[in-house]
């Protein structure tokens, strides 16, 4: 994975970082990320992964751009109302960074396609807004041994954690009962309000986690849930452990 002269210029401020260098930048170029959901979380995550020079980016979203999205989904423009988000996001990425190979798929992620979407990725970012998709991605990523950057956002609050299969606990170690999850603090954005900039902040944190995981630097949020309360500017990390009886990743889960 060599960097062209244009790429060296583009990524100069990355390359000067001791934690990245030319070696790390080439690692990013050789990496691929799947972003599920190109909405409030996916917008900044996609922007930053694209700008950071990830080699391949796969954007999956089933929706079209709606006027009520525009206060937080900063990928989209007025002129794109009604257009599919995945393809629109792809055009935006191509305009930002032609060195990224970007694929867009308009579909709902479900049992039938999740394995194929996750397989072979270097990292997956969860920008979805339904509990079902979140637990489905968790299961598929653990099964395929692909790191997953989970996030959720509601009102003025956000959560981020990194699921590193084989290294730390999974989402279901933390939320033992997926059925109860929808009644948890993280309702879906369509029902409750959300400050757009909070989605931007949390999506950016997801991009940072993904890049750290790919580069193997820093201390990712493995076994720790970062909980952000933007109203009073409180950042807490809540540790959680792997449950041996976890049906997804536990050693007593039967396999």
């Amino acid at each position: 994975m060599e960097l062209s002269e244009q790429e060296v210029l583009r990524y100069a401020r990355h390359i000067v970082l001791p934690q990245i260098g030319g070696v790390g930048q080439r690692t990013l170029k050789g990496a691929s990320a799947l972003v599920v959901g190109a909405g409030g979380l996916g917008s900044p995550a996609i922007y930053y992964l694209a700008a950071a020079g990830i080699g391949a980016l796969h954007i999956v979203d089933n929706d079209v751009v709606d006027r009520t999205n525009l206060h937080r989904q900063i990928l989209y423009r007025m002129a794109e109302l009604g257009e599919p988000k995945a393809q629109t996001a792809r055009r935006r990425v191509e305009a930002i960074n032609p060195h990224v190979s970007v694929q867009a798929t308009r579909c709902r992620v479900d049992d039938t396609n999740v394995e194929g979407l996750v397989r072979g990725c270097s990292v997956v970012l969860d920008g979805s807004d339904t509990a079902g998709t979140k637990f489905l991605l968790n299961r598929a990523c653990v099964a395929a041994s692909v790191p997953l950057i989970y996030a959720g956002v509601i009102r003025f609050e956000g959560q981020v954690t990194t699921i590193a299969p084989g290294v730390g606990p999974c989402l279901q170690c933390l939320f033992a009962d997926p059925e109860a999850f929808d009644r948890d603090p993280l309702e879906t954005c369509s029902q409750a309000g959300v400050l757009g900039a909070v989605a931007g902040q949390i999506g950016s944190l997801q991009a940072i986690e993904a890049l750290k995981i790919l580069l193997g630097v820093g201390d990712p949020l493995i076994g720790r849930m970062l909980v952000v309360d933007a109203l009073d500017n409180r950042f807490r990390t809540v540790p959680f452990i792997q449950r041996p009886e976890c049906p997804v990743c536990g050693s007593e889960s039967g396999e």
Partner: protein, 81 residues
């Protein structure tokens, strides 16, 4: 007394502004082996001050530096890997 050091690689970076002069220096150093010497020629002024400082911050050793005609020459020993 300065016995001539063996130069393994050379970069002429006169005219390159910060941070690109350091970026090219760093990329070249990454390709080199531990103990090898890179000679870099940069413009005087800001690049002459910044490149040695950045190279040292990355753990390499500046063997010698100084003006060379109207430019500035830095000789760096790679440390690591």
């Amino acid at each position: 007394m300065n016995k001539e050091v063996q130069i393994h690689q050379h970069l002429h970076l006169v005219g390159h502004k910060c941070p690109m002069n350091f970026v090219y220096t760093k990329l070249k150093l990454e390709e080199m082996r531990d103990g090898e010497v890179l000679e870099v020629v940069v413009s005087t002024g800001e690049p002459a001050r910044n490149v040695p400082r950045s190279v040292i911050a990355e753990g390499h050793k500046v063997l010698e530096e100084g003006t060379l005609g109207e430019h500035y020459r830095i000789r760096i020993r790679k440390v690591g890997e």
